[in-house]
C-alpha cells in the first residue's frame, strides 16, 4: 500500500510540474505586462524597468519558471515590491497580496459549497439508485429513471437562476446565496449555501442514481449474490453486504471525479450564485490578466483532480479485494 501511494504521489508531482510548465509557457503569450501592474498607473520608464528587474521578467523564460517553482518551497522577494513567504505561488499586484493567501482565503467557500452538496447528492443518489434497482420495472423505478434523466440534462445556470427567481426574489423562501464562515455562525453558513446545495444536488444526484441502479442490477445477477441467496441469507443483508459493495467501486469512481472537479473551482455554480470561491477567483484573474493568480488556480484545480484520483484508486483496494494492488 505504501509503495503504491509513494509511486502515485511521485507521478502526481511530475504531472503537476508538467501542467504548471505548460501553463507557464503558454500564458506567456497573454498580452499583459505584470511589471506595469506592479508599478501602478502612472509609471515612469526607469521605474518600470526596475519593476521588471525585481519581478525577474528580464530573465530568460526558463529561469523565470525555475524561480517560480523554487518560490513554492523557499519563498520569494520581489525587491522593493513585496515579499512572499514560503509556499509562494507568486504575488498578485491586482489584489496586492501573495497569491497563496488569496487562495487560502477563497478555499473555504468552494470547499463548503462542495462538501455540503456532495453529502446530499451522494447519499440521496445512491439511495434512490438502490431503491430503483430493487424495484426494477415497477413504477418507483420508472419515476427514478425519468427524474434522473431530466436532472442529468439540466444546466446549473438555468435551474440555478430559476431557483433564485422563484425561491429568493419572488417568495423569499430561501436567503440570497452568500458565504459566512462556519466557525462564526454555523446556521448562517448553512442558510447562505442552502440554495446552491439544492441546485447542485438536483443536477448531480441524477448521475449517481443512474450509475448505482445499473451497477446494482448487474451485481444482483452475479453468481455470488445468487449463492448467498441460495444459502438462505436474508434479502436485506445480501443487498447490503454483497451487491452494494460491488456497486460502491463505480460510485466512488464518479464521486472522485466530481469532487476533484468541484473543489478545483465550481466556476459555473459560483458564477450563477455570485459566490466568491476559487472558481470566481480564476475567472476574475482572467479578466484582470492577473497571471500569478491564474497560474495558481489552474495548479490548485489540477492538483484537486489528481489527488482525488489517487484517493479513489486507494479506496478501490479497500472495497474490492480483487484490485489489491496488482
Amino acid at each position: 500500500m505504501l509503495r503504491f501511494l509513494t509511486r502515485r504521489a511521485l507521478g502526481a508531482v511530475v504531472t503537476l510540474v508538467v501542467i504548471s510548465a505548460v501553463t507557464f509557457f503558454l500564458f506567456f503569450a497573454v498580452p499583459a505586462d505584470p511589471a506595469r501592474l506592479a508599478c501602478g498607473k502612472v509609471c515612469p520608464p526607469e521605474l518600470l524597468e526596475q519593476a521588471r528587474h525585481n519581478l525577474g521578467l528580464d530573465q530568460p523564460l526558463f529561469a523565470q519558471f525555475t524561480a517560480w517553482l523554487a518560490g513554492i518551497f523557499v519563498g520569494r522577494d520581489y525587491g522593493g515590491l513585496g515579499h512572499c513567504p514560503a509556499p509562494c505561488l507568486g504575488y498578485s499586484f491586482v489584489n496586492k497580496a501573495p497569491v497563496f493567501e488569496t487562495i487560502l482565503d477563497r478555499l473555504p467557500v468552494t470547499v463548503s459549497l462542495t462538501v455540503g452538496a456532495a453529502l446530499v447528492f451522494l447519499l440521496f443518489g445512491v439511495a434512490t439508485g438502490i431503491i430503483a434497482a430493487l424495484n426494477q420495472g415497477r413504477p418507483l423505478d420508472k419515476i427514478a429513471s425519468v427524474s434522473s434523466l431530466i436532472g442529468f440534462s439540466l444546466q446549473i445556470y438555468f435551474v440555478g437562476t430559476l431557483a433564485l427567481y422563484f425561491l429568493v426574489y419572488q417568495n423569499q423562501i430561501l436567503t440570497r446565496p452568500q458565504y459566512r464562515p462556519f466557525t462564526e455562525d454555523p446556521l448562517a453558513w448553512a442558510a447562505g449555501l442552502a440554495l446552491p446545495w439544492v441546485v447542485l444536488s438536483i443536477i448531480f444526484t441524477a448521475n449517481y442514481t443512474r450509475m448505482t441502479r445499473s451497477t446494482m442490477v448487474e451485481q444482483l445477477g452475479e453468481d455470488y449474490v445468487r449463492t448467498a441467496r441460495a444459502k438462505g441469507m436474508k434479502g436485506r443483508s445480501v443487498v447490503m453486504r454483497f451487491a452494494l459493495r460491488g456497486t460502491l467501486t463505480t460510485v466512488i469512481t464518479i464521486f472522485g471525479v466530481d469532487l476533484g472537479a468541484l473543489i478545483g473551482g465550481a466556476i459555473i455554480t459560483e458564477t450563477t450564485f455570485g459566490l466568491q470561491g476559487l472558481g470566481r477567483l480564476s475567472i476574475n484573474a482572467v479578466t484582470d490578466s492577473d497571471l500569478p493568480v491564474l497560474m495558481a488556480t489552474v495548479l490548485v484545480a489540477a492538483g484537486a483532480i489528481i489527488v482525488f484520483n489517487i484517493i479513489v484508486d486507494a479506496l478501490y483496494a479497500f472495497i474490492d479485494p480483487r484490485v489489491r494492488l496488482s
Binding site: V30, S153, Q155, Y157, L164, S282, V286, V298, A301, I305
Partner: protein
C-alpha cells in the same frame, strides 16, 4: 470480419417461421429493426431530427415568419420596450407578432434568436464531435494496437489531458489564442472565434474517447480472428481497417451520440461565462448569459433557451441510450 450478432447465429424459436429471411440480415439491418421497435428511441429520434431541420431551415423559417435575428425591433418601433429597456407587454413581450417575445434592451426577436441559435450551437458541437471522434479513434487504435512504448506515451498524454481543469483553461486561453492571430485593438472575426472554440473543445475532449477505444482495441487484439488474420499474413493496415475498425463502430457511434449534446452544453456554458460566440451571431449560450443578467425583471427570456436546451439534451441522451440498446442487446440498462 465482424463478430456475428447473436441473433444471426441461429433462427430463434420465435423467428422460426421467418427463418429464410433472417439468414440474410446484416448486423446493421438487425440494429435498425431493433431500434424501430424501441418507442422511446423513435420518439427521441423524431425530436432530434426536428431540431436538425429547424437548424437547416432557419432562413426559410425566418422568411415565413417575416423577421430576422439581427434587426433591433424593440428599438426601431416605439412602444415595445419601456424606459428601462424591458418589454412593455407581460411575459417578455409575447404577442402574435413576436411569438416568443422580445429581447430586453436590444429588442431583437427571441424566436429568431432561438432558431438561428441552434445553428451556431449545433455547427460548433458537430464540428468538435467529428474532430474529437477522429482524433480519439486514431489515438485509441494506435495506443491499443501498437502497445509498448507508444501505448505508454499516449496513455500519459491522455492522463495529463484528463487532469487539466478544462473549463478554466479554455477561458484563460481564449485571449491567448486570439492574440496570436488578431492584434488587441482589432475586432475578432466571428469565424476565428468559432474555430478557436472548436479547437479548444476538441483539445480537452478527445482523451476520454481515446481511452475507451484503447481498452476495446486491447481486448480485440487478442481475439482469435485477429490472430488468424495475422497468421495468414495480413498487413497491419488490413488488420486495423478490416478487422478492428468494423468492431469499433458500435462504441464509436455510441460515444459520438453522447458527445454531441455534451459539447452543445459545454459551448453554451462557455458562452454563459463570456468566452463563447460574439455578437451579433445568435447563440443559445449567450441567450443564457443575457437571461441570467435580466432574470429579475424578465424571467421569460431565460425560459426559451433553457427549455429548448433541456428538450434537446434529453432527446439526444435518450437517442444515445436507444442506439446502444439496438446495437448491443446484451447490455440492458
Amino acid at each position: 470480419m465482424t463478430i456475428p450478432a447473436p441473433a444471426v447465429a441461429g433462427p430463434g424459436k420465435t423467428l422460426a417461421a421467418k427463418a429464410p429471411e433472417t439468414a440474410g440480415r446484416s448486423p446493421g439491418r438487425l440494429m435498425w429493426l431493433r431500434f424501430r421497435r424501441d418507442r422511446t428511441g423513435v420518439a427521441s429520434a423524431v425530436v432530434v431530427i426536428f431540431f436538425l431541420l429547424v437548424a437547416a431551415l432557419a432562413p426559410v423559417i425566418s422568411w415565413l415568419y417575416g423577421k430576422d435575428p439581427y434587426t433591433l425591433y424593440g428599438q426601431d418601433t416605439p412602444g415595445l420596450l419601456n424606459d428601462f429597456g424591458y418589454p412593455v407587454l407581460p411575459n417578455g413581450g409575447i404577442s402574435s407578432e413576436f411569438w416568443f417575445g422580445i429581447e430586453p434592451n436590444l429588442g431583437r426577436d427571441v424566436f429568431m434568436q432561438l432558431v438561428y441559435g441552434i445553428r451556431t450551437s449545433l455547427l460548433i458541437a458537430a464540428a468538435a464531435t467529428v474532430l474529437v471522434t477522429t482524433i480519439g479513434i486514431v489515438m485509441g487504435i494506435v495506443a491499443g494496437y501498437a502497445g509498448g512504448k507508444t501505448d505508454y506515451a499516449i496513455g500519459r498524454v491522455i492522463d495529463l489531458t484528463l487532469s487539466f481543469p478544462s473549463t478554466l483553461f479554455i477561458i484563460a486561453f481564449m485571449p491567448v489564442v486570439e492574440n496570436l492571430f488578431v492584434s488587441p485593438d482589432e475586432e475578432t472575426p466571428v469565424w476565428l472565434r468559432a474555430v478557436t472554440l472548436v479547437i479548444m473543445l476538441t483539445a480537452f475532449q478527445w482523451a476520454g474517447i481515446a481511452r475507451i477505444l484503447r481498452g476495446q482495441v486491447l481486448s480485440l487484439r487478442e481475439r482469435e480472428f485477429v490472430e488468424a488474420a495475422r497468421v495468414t499474413g495480413a498487413s497491419p493496415a488490413r488488420i486495423v481497417f478490416k478487422e478492428l475498425l468494423p468492431n469499433l463502430w458500435t462504441p464509436i457511434l455510441i460515444q459520438a451520440t453522447l458527445l454531441l449534446p455534451a459539447l452543445v452544453t459545454a459551448e453554451a456554458a462557455l458562452s454563459f461565462l463570456g468566452v463563447g460566440m460574439i455578437e451579433p451571431i445568435p447563440d443559445w449560450g449567450r441567450m443564457f448569459l443575457r437571461g441570467t443578467q435580466v432574470y429579475q425583471n424578465d424571467i421569460t427570456y431565460l425560459m426559451f433557451p433553457g427549455v429548448a436546451l433541456l428538450v434537446f439534451v434529453i432527446a439526444f441522451n435518450l437517442l444515445g441510450d436507444s442506439v446502444r440498446d439496438a446495437f448491443d442487446p446484451k447490455i440492458k440498462r
